[in-house]
């Protein structure tokens, strides 16, 4: 089953939305790029929305694990497991995040 979650576009600021069973989801809009991914770092569950956003990379504020916001791939440890990412696009003045369960 797929659900669509909508949230206002706030460029350059991470917004955390409730993904229900998928847990908290961070939405980040940077120019034409829209990223949506699980907010909990796969290392020790820190909120990635508190991290640093640099291009397509999010850096966890706790232990500096780095993930590609586009693919979820771990770019730098200490995280081992990839981050779950969700398809997202801008529709009007909202971001639509597609969460499949």
């Amino acid at each position: 089953m797929t659900r669509i979650i909508r949230t206002p576009v706030v460029p350059g600021v991470p917004v955390v939305v409730d993904g229900e069973n998928a847990g908290p989801v961070t939405v980040f809009v940077d120019g034409d790029d829209v990223f949506a991914f699980e907010d909990n770092c796969t290392h020790h569950k820190c909120a990635l929305s508190d991290g640093d956003f640099d291009g397509e990379v999010v850096v966890c504020a706790c232990h500096f694990a780095e993930f590609s916001m586009r693919t979820g791939e771990v770019l730098e440890g200490p995280a081992v497991d990839a981050l779950r990412v969700f398809p997202a696009k801008i529709v009007g003045d909202e971001v639509e995040v597609e969460i499949s369960e």
């Binding site: 020790h44 640093d52 640099d54 990379v57 850096v59 500096f64 780095e66 730098e76 440890g77």
Partner: protein, 394 residues
């Protein structure tokens, strides 16, 4: 011994756990037995002085791997301490009374805390800070206003001061040299960290040498040569690492309390079939790249994987350029490479570089500058010169 006997890994810290999982990644199909000397599931030791001590995380939040993953990868975890090695029989004797036969043995049981003074009494008020059980004991005694003396102003001591001050304790740091973090990062952070500590209400006493430690009914008293004494409710010793190798006596492995277990650049000890990984490893490769003064998580993890490669006859991967990161009183500190001599200017919000005589950036330290650190890390890893640093900063 038979070929059916498992690879036995003694120690379930990051080196041992990474070695076990890497063996599976390399396709090892035989039995793997991981001997865990602690009562918790294998956890991330850097959390001991940080979030576990502060109480912002519980052990379940900082596990190295999900609990199920050991079963999933068919890694047998045995809760026991290894008591001795009979290398002639390829056997390890356990505290549980059991005996494990091994086809190959990996020693990955790390180091232990040094005592502040050899004559210090054993007391429930005196702790090391190496394990989750140390944290449990300390936290059961810490409350707002309780006075904690921390011996050692190195990284662990400074992290412990942060965690305990934030838990409301009154904290005094005792450091033998004339400044905090004297051996870290060529002393660059000493002034800033002392400033953060004092601002946060930590008493910092440098250039003090503990001569005796005594226990009274209510206090621990540490006598400081020529500078009086400090009385505290608790004493936490963060004054470096020893390697408890007495249990290896008689098995033929060359080892010492100060240096750990000798090995070649594949991690094999002086006894064929017995390997060593992580902090305990003292060999040419490990000594130069990731060890001795830098007993850090990443180096230990990489060394565990390197030993797995050696056991499987694969090419031993090069150990990564060492990195370390921490938080002290809310400030993030990230480091990569080597810190020899004077770096470029270090200030909050910037990244300082160490550049060698050929203009190559060999180390970098970022203070509250995660973006600067990403550039620095790339630069140091690639061994590119100072020119490219300047260009990227323009």
């Amino acid at each position: 011994m038979s070929i059916e006997d498992p690879i036995v890994i003694v120690g379930a810290g990051v080196a041992g756990v990474e070695c076990a999982f890497a063996l599976r990644d390399y396709g090892f199909a035989g039995r793997i037995v991981l001997v865990n000397g602690e009562s918790e599931h294998p956890y991330d030791r850097p959390a001991v002085s940080k979030e576990l001590l502060e109480g912002t995380a519980k052990i379940g939040d900082v596990l190295l791997r999900p609990v199920d993953s050991y079963d999933d990868r068919n890694i047998e975890v045995v809760q026991a301490r290894a008591q001795n090695v009979l290398s002639a029989n390829n056997e390890v004797r356990l505290s549980s009374g059991g005996v494990l036969s091994y086809s190959r043995l990996v020693l990955a049981c790390g180091g232990a805390g040094r005592p502040l003074v050899e004559s210090a009494p054993r007391s429930p008020r005196i702790h090391g800070l190496r394990s989750a059980s140390d944290v449990e004991a300390i936290r059961s005694q810490v409350a707002p206003g309780v006075h904690v003396a921390i011996a050692g102003g190195g990284l662990i001591g400074c992290e412990a001061a942060t965690s305990l001050r934030r838990s409301g304790a009154r904290v005094t740091v005792l450091e033998r040299s004339d400044r905090l973090l004297a051996e870290q990062w060529a002393g660059v952070m000493s002034g800033l960290v002392e400033h953060w500590m004092v601002q946060s209400g930590v008493e910092v006493r440098t250039s003090v040498t503990a001569t005796t430690v005594r226990e009274s009914s209510r206090h621990i008293r540490v006598d400081l040569a020529g500078f009086g004494a400090v009385e505290a409710d608790l004493l936490i010793c963060c004054v470096g690492t020893n390697f408890p190798v007495e249990w290896l006596r008689g098995c033929g492995v060359s080892a010492s309390v100060l240096r750990g277990v000798e090995c070649d650049n594949r991690g094999e000890t002086t006894v064929p079939g017995v390997f060593v990984a992580g902090d305990l490893a003292s060999g040419p490769e490990f000594a130069n790249v990731a060890r001795r003064t830098e007993l850090h998580w990443e180096g230990a993890a990489a060394s565990g994987r390197a030993v797995a490669a050696a056991l499987m006859g694969a090419d031993v991967p090069t150990l990564p350029v060492p990195t370390y990161s921490t938080r002290i009183f809310g400030h993030s500190i990230q480091f990569i490479g080597r810190a020899v001599g004077a770096p470029t200017a270090a200030a909050v919000g910037t990244t300082a570089y160490w550049v060698d005589a050929h203009g190559t950036a060999v180390g970098a330290l970022a203070i509250d500058d995660p973006r600067g650190f990403r550039t620095a890390r790339r630069t140091v890893r690639e061994g590119s010169g100072a020119d490219s640093i300047n260009n990227e900063h323009q």
